[in-house]
Structures are given as C-alpha cells and as structure tokens.
Symmetry: C2
C-alpha cells in the first residue's frame, strides 16, 4: 500500500570523496558505480536502511540544504560519536542554532549540513 525510501541521492563535486566519508559515517560499503560517475553505498548486509548515491554535479551549493540527514550513533554515546565524526572530516556548522539543542549540526567535506542526534530509543 505504499512506497519505501530506497535511496537518497546527494549531488557531489567529488563523489569518491563523499562516498568515502559517508561510508565511514554509516558503516556502508560500495554497492556499485554508474557510467555517469555516480557511486552507490549501502548497508553491507543489504539491510532496510536507504542506500546513498553520490551523484556527480558541478552545480553550486545553494545555501542551507532544504533536505538533510540526521544520524544517530548505534553503539556509543553522542560525545564519542561526535569525536569520531570530526576525526573523519566533519566540521561544526552554523545554521542559526542556539547551541542549547540536544543535537550537533555538522557539515560533511563538501559542506552538506547534517545533524548528530542524541541517541534515543525508538518506539518498538
């Protein structure tokens, strides 16, 4: 009776670089490449999380992303994960947040904003 979110497609000036970054962030592996230079990464076990397609684009980034990804650590607390993400090349981003939020606003190596949420229990 419905659709599922199967992929997220992110424009990238350098798909290789963003594929490497997001693979580390999400524990994803490369699933395939297209002739146009797109690289698809996804869960190594083919799980139900959406894959991520890094799609080559030379279009300039038009300011804050109107659609962004929030991530949550799966096996550690938010502080430890923040440290890991910064070491991977994420950097703090300012989108007008007050600094008192429970999440961290970061940007990937091409400046795409994403948030690291406080790990939370999801309804079963």
């Amino acid at each position: 009776m419905a659709c599922r979110i199967s992929e997220l497609v992110l424009d990238a000036a350098d798909p290789e670089r963003l594929a490497a970054f997001w693979s580390e962030v999400l524990g994803y592996v490369e699933l395939g490449r297209e002739d146009d230079g797109s690289i698809e990464i996804g869960p190594p076990d083919g799980g139900p999380q959406p894959t991520l397609v890094l799609s080559p684009s030379s279009a300039p980034r038009p300011g804050k992303l109107p659609l962004h990804i929030d991530v949550s650590a799966t096996d550690r607390d938010q502080d430890a994960e923040l440290e890991r993400l910064l070491a991977l090349g994420a950097r703090p981003a300012d989108v007008g947040q007050t600094g008192t939020e429970s999440w961290h606003v970061l940007a990937d190596p091409e400046g795409n904003e994403f948030c690291l949420l406080r790990t939370r229990i999801r309804p079963a």
Copy 2:
C-alpha cells in the same frame, strides 16, 4: 561502529500539507509534533526506515534539491504506483532527464523533486 540514518528533515512552507502527502506516499503515521511546528512521521511499526520531519521554513526553495529521496513501491509495479502518486498530488518534474530513464521524476506538493524507481530486488 557507525551511525544510522534516523531522520530526514525537510523544510516545508506548510508542514501539515507535506506530512499528509508523505504519510500517504510512505504509509507513515504521525509520531509527534514540536513546539516550533515540526511534524514527524514514521513507520507505524517503528521499523528501521528513517522517519521524516517536516520542519517549518519560509526560506525560498533554491532550485533543484541537492539531496533528494528515491522511493520504490513495496507491493505493486511502477506504473500502478505512479498512478497512485499522481492521484495523491505528485506531479511530473523536469530536472533535465532524457525521458528514457527507468525512473520517474516527480515533485511533491511544494515542488520537492523525488524519484519513483523501478521496483528492484535488493541484495539479501
């Protein structure tokens, strides 16, 4: 050892309207509302698919979305799902595609592009 994609956050001029549309598309239900007017929708069973947060924003849409969602039908073929999505208020969008692609480019009621993929078998 990694993060999971827990939410996607989409700026919306009218969160109510987009929450209704995307709930129908994805078979999602409302999970909660924030004081700022954000509406979160997600799988009714709390499954592993990301939730979607419609976040109020008056910022103008800056052209083609640099991050977009691809969806796949879960229980019907692509043609039948296309018909359903158009009836829900999606409309065909032109992002420069040739028309020979295996997917359909659509826009949601606020003009956010998304694609309906051909249903495919994912690696197990």
